[in-house]
């Protein structure tokens, strides 16, 4: 089968399995909800300045929810060591990576779609800048989290204390992306400055790390 077909088949399989055990999705959605609630209790939403910190709040909440979700990425492949079955097959490595990254992208996007309206409601957010810019920001930002998250989750497969290893690797590398997301969002929310620079930064980040991941994933997969 071709590269794309394997990607599609793997993604389809993951989505089917995810759908079959809806528990995991529901648990994650509930977790996302709880994160928003916890934030709303910790940061009094009536405060005037909430609009200025909302960008940070939202993306930090997304980041923590995403880390929990990303940690599950490879869990299914590890049970019964199915990953080895992929590795002994003649299929190339990258379709597996792309399928996982797309799957995570969809999953984290769903989480965000659930959390965002809650944030808007709790913090009574109104967008003062060009609202449509929030869409590319969300897409690029999510992809930035997901591409490196998927890659580092694969790396943490080869380590002890896997759960803790993922944030240890992901957080430092994600700092420019985080800055990009937070500042772009704040720029749009407050309408005080242009988000262009930050969007460009996010794009550069996505391009660099998507390329790097695709070039090096096979090394990681085979590094046993």
């Amino acid at each position: 089968m071709s590269f794309l077909e394997i990607t599609r088949a793997t993604l389809a399989k993951d989505i089917r399995l995810e759908w079959r055990s809806k528990d995991a999705i529901n648990a994650m959605l509930f977790f996302a909800l709880l994160v928003v609630v916890i934030f709303s209790f910790a940061f009094d939403p009536t405060a005037e300045e909430s609009r200025r910190i909302a960008g940070g709040l939202i993306w930090v909440a997304f980041l923590f929810a995403a880390v929990v979700a990303l940690n599950q990425t490879w869990a299914r492949e590890l049970r019964n060591q199915v990953l080895d079955a992929y590795r002994v097959s003649p299929a190339p490595a990258n379709p597996l990576f792309l399928a996982k990254a797309f799957g995570n992208f969809i999953f984290v996007s769903v989480l965000e779609a659930v959390m965002t309206p809650l944030f808007v409601a709790f913090y009574k957010l109104r967008v003062l800048g060009p609202a449509w810019e929030l869409i590319p920001i969300a897409l690029l930002g999510t992809w930035a989290l997901v591409i490196n998250g998927t890659f580092f989750a694969a790396i943490s497969l080869r380590t002890r204390s896997r759960e803790i290893m993922l944030p240890l690797l992901l957080f430092p590398i994600s700092i420019p992306a985080l800055l990009g997301m937070v500042n772009a969002t704040t720029a749009v929310l407050t309408g005080e400055e242009s988000a262009r620079f930050w969007i460009a930064l996010l794009m550069a980040y996505d391009v660099v790390f998507t390329t790097a991941s695709l070039l090096m994933f096979e090394l990681v997969l085979e590094a046993e």
Binding site: I155, P172, L201, V220, A223, E224
Partner: protein, 228 residues
Amino acid sequence: MKRGFTLLALVTALLLSFALYEALIAAPTEQTMGNVQRIFYYHVPSAWTAFVLFLINFVSSIVYLIRRNPKADILALVSAEVGVVFCTVVIVTGPIWARPVWGIWWAPGDIRLTTTLVLWLIYISYLVLRRFSTSGRTPVIAAVVAIFGALDVPLVYFSIWFFRTQHPSPVIGGGGSLDPRMARVLLINWAAFMCLAWLLSWTRYELEVAKRQVEEAQALESLLEGSR
């Protein structure tokens, strides 16, 4: 090789003591900051030395991925370790300097401070990964992470570039005006630090080589014992 090592150790010791004298006594006292400014002769050379070491780490990681030469891997490990040590010196001397001069320990959002901090974090997580790896091919994974880290640095730089900075601008090549006497002391210190870094890396390199040999021998032993 033994000779070379002794020679290097000697040169380092001499340079370091000379640099110490130059920095604390010979160099002129800065007018506004006073004697605190002398920390400059440790702060800046440490930073430059750390940069050089991280560059070596990046290059040897790439070399390892291409050539699969264990020496390149050891070099990558060693340069990251020693680099983190020097980077720590920067991160510690910076706030010590900042407190009396700026009145705060840390200036968040500052480009130089943040880049340094992120650099430090990245290489620490690199070292943590090496410790936690259960892979039979730790060097490959480590090299991959090192490359990811190195790719991140320019992005960090640009992302913070947008903020205004409190930190002094580059002195060398940046059109800055540094007293030539101070510049001389600075360069002497840098030379001394580079020698020290070289010495430390060399020692650590030999230690790592020896450690791997010992481990291999131990592996044989435990295998023979384990078969019982």
